[in-house]
């Protein structure tokens, strides 16, 4: 039972890790890396380390994903399709590269 659970977790982990490499959209890659951390935290629970699992789930899947996403927004790689449509509809805010130096 526990072997199959671990096998399932590792397969999710590996598929998500492959997604981090192969996904074209950087934001999707960030989400995939969050899934890697989540699967890894399940793995830590299976290996009887609940403290490490908590830290991995909170920091790996939560905070580092937010930090990566905010950093992507800062360097201008945040391309959700809805936001691109919005930028096209309103000409005042058509600056996908949100770089402070470029606005000065």
């Amino acid at each position: 039972m526990i072997f199959w659970l671990a096998l399932l977790t590792i397969s999710i982990l590996l598929v998500a890790a492959a997604g981090v490499v192969l996904l074209r959209n950087p934001l999707s890659a960030v989400v995939a890396s969050g899934i890697v951390s989540l699967a890894l935290s399940v793995m830590f629970v299976i290996l009887r380390a609940p403290d490490v699992a908590m830290a991995e789930a909170i920091v790996g899947a939560g905070l580092s994903g937010v930090i990566f996403a905010l950093a992507l927004r800062r360097v201008g790689l945040w391309d959700v399709s809805a936001e691109i449509k919005h930028a096209a509809s309103s000409p005042s805010s058509q600056a996908p590269i949100r770089n402070k130096q470029s606005t000065e």
Binding site: F3, I10, L13, V66, R98, T103
Partner: protein, 233 residues
């Protein structure tokens, strides 16, 4: 498919095979060195924690935890230096106008609902760090998330960085002063103070809950400040 992708995927494949083989050969509940068994047997009486991990983190290896706090502090300072900005400059730019747009209904409702629960969960994990899994780092990260989610719904609002820095400094100072009190009283830096008490009781393990409270407040204030700076950057 570039060569970079193929090499990364090969690395992933190897890592996965390694993980599976390690997992199959893992010696469950076999003592490798004997240190773990000794700590498991002696920590509840010596330190008074029901969660053995906490006894290692704060009592046997308190200095390492202080080093870990120092690393996080240095990283947060470095990020703050990189992200430091002039607030007047931001409001005039395109970025400032875009950030004034209000958040959506789902995000606002979820933030209002989540914040009190996140606060309670974070404080629970910090205060019960010596009884249940978790502790200052995990609870502090949850507290940071609790203070960051409302900032997402209020784009115009600025976080009070001074208050966060003050809380962080006070928590760091109290962590080190508890260690110094132990140095003068028991002759060892960060030695556990007070009676161990009954393992499993909320008021047990001497000064370890205070250390975890300081850790939690420090980590929470630090990460909340860092996330708010990243949002404004």
């Amino acid at each position: 498919m570039k060569a970079r992708h193929i090499s990364s995927l090969l690395f992933l494949l190897g890592l996965g095979l390694l993980l599976i083989s390690i997992f199959q050969n893992l010696p469950y509940s076999n003592n490798l060195t004997g240190i773990g068994a000794n700590i498991n047997a002696q920590a509840p009486q010596q330190v008074g924690t029901a969660n053995i991990v906490t006894s290692v983190i704060l009592a046997y290896r308190g200095l390492d935890t202080l080093g870990e706090l120092l690393i996080l502090f240095t990283a947060s300072i470095a990020a703050g230096m990189v992200l430091a900005y002039n607030p007047d400059e931001l409001t005039d730019s395109v970025l400032g106008k875009q950030q004034q747009q209000p958040a959506g209904f789902i995000l606002q409702t979820a933030a209002d609902l989540l914040m009190p629960f996140l606060l309670i969960t974070g404080m629970y994990i910090i205060l019960h760090g010596h009884i249940t899994p978790g502790g200052g780092f995990q609870g502090g990260a949850i507290l940071a998330a609790a203070f960051f989610i409302p900032l997402l719904t209020l784009p115009g609002k600025r976080m009070d960085y001074q208050l966060g820095s003050l809380l962080e400094a006070l928590a760091g100072i109290s962590f080190i002063s508890i260690g110094l009190i132990a140095l003068f009283w028991k002759g060892q830096f960060l030695a556990p103070l007070g009676e161990p008490g009954v393992p499993g009781a909320l008021l047990s393990a001497g000064s370890l809950p205070l250390l975890y409270l300081a850790t939690g407040i420090k980590v929470g204030a630090e990460l909340a400040n860092l996330l708010a700076r990243l949002r404004d950057a």
